[in-house]
Amino acid sequence: MGLTAEESGRLATLLDTHAEKVTASWADAAAAPLRGRLTRAELLKQVQDLHRAVVESLHDGGFDLTADASAALRATLVDLARSRARHGFSATETTVTVFGLKKALFDVVDVHGGDPQVLIDLLAAHTMIDELGLFAFESYARTREELISDQAEQLLELATPVVKLWEGVVAIPLVGTLDSARAQVVMERLLETLVETSSPYAIIDITGVLAVDTQVAQHILKTVVAARLMGAECIISGIRPQIAQTIVALGIEFGDIATKATLADALRHALRMIEATRKGRVN
């Protein structure tokens, strides 16, 4: 929903002539809910940018936020929403800044003059400001979603390093919660490293796993079976007392898979197996 050419013309002139007063009271209105987390100078700068963009897009005739003429205004709003989202402001704190223009308009318009045209214009202006606020809100939400998905991706890469402990022994320390997506990544990384380093032993250390439920156990078991198919043996280590109790309570069977309390025990077990293999070959 846009404004007619006359409405936007009148609004632009109004904002232009009282530029200083409008931005000042706009900044004041926006500052209150932020409780001093942005300095007044910063806020004034943001408000002035917005003011300029709004006036420019009003000057181009009938206002329409989706039109090409409003590209600069949209960019300014997106910038504002992005910086607020990245600095940890809430959605309300972001959109209130845009809605501050309503308050500023009241200060420069003579609402008690009895001119019905003024009220109609004010109503139209409010509709426009609502539109700007919604747009800022959506940009804010989008930025937050991007942030979250970026972080999830980083976590996925961060939390799954496969380390070589010894000649023929690799270890993967699992940290955090193990969902299907991460389990898949862990599984692939581990199996690929087994092939690359030609290591017949892999240690899956679950010291950093907060909870082991049937699903997590299922993922670990699958990894072990896949490694066996490829000709490598897995040892599970770092089982904390509490987790051992949970595993038994849930009735999870690890079968003939070697489980050790600590990574050190697991490494000793692997080295002993390698030694046995070596001796067997010599004899």
Binding site: M187, L191, L194, V195, S198, V225, A226, L229, G231
Partner: protein, 141 residues
């Protein structure tokens, strides 16, 4: 029809599967391998499946039957070089290669076979002459 070559290295027969396995190819491989085991008297078979992108139930069954045939002819079978993606798929499908030994690569496979061979009782250790000497002679009173 494509044939899979069977190479002899010392006491081991090496089969490297590089082509998509069809019914005919699989049957021919089983026959070739059985013939070669008997002809060469080898005691180990290594099947390298590095070149296989897909291992389905058909290939799994083929590997199982090759292992069984070899075992009947006193040869141990090791499947080597299974790719991670293949292993994951097999697990997800719930297929297991029962009765098949696996190793990461050909080198490890040869080690495994050497180990299995060493664990077996040494067939040259029996002193057959001792029994034969007493065979047919009159029992001591």
């Amino acid at each position: 029809m494509e044939r899979v070559p069977v190479l002899k290295i010392g006491d081991i027969l090496l089969v490297s599967i590089q082509v998509d396995m069809q019914d005919q190819t699989a049957l021919a491989l089983q026959e070739d391998l059985a013939d070669r085991i008997v002809a060469t008297g080898c005691h180990g078979v290594i099947i390298d499946i590095t070149g296989l992108d897909i291992v389905d139930s058909f290939v799994g069954r083929m590997l199982s039957s090759i292992a069984s045939i070899s075992r009947v002819l006193d040869a141990e079978t090791v499947v080597v070089g299974m790719r991670p993606a293949v292993a994951i798929t097999l697990v997800e499908l719930g297929l297991s290669l029962d009765g098949i030994r696996t190793a990461l690569n050909v080198e490890r496979g040869m080690e495994l076979l050497a180990l299995a061979r060493a664990a077996e009782p040494d067939d040259t250790g029996f002193d057959l002459g001792l029994d034969l000497d007493g065979f047919g002679s009159p029992a001591t009173p």
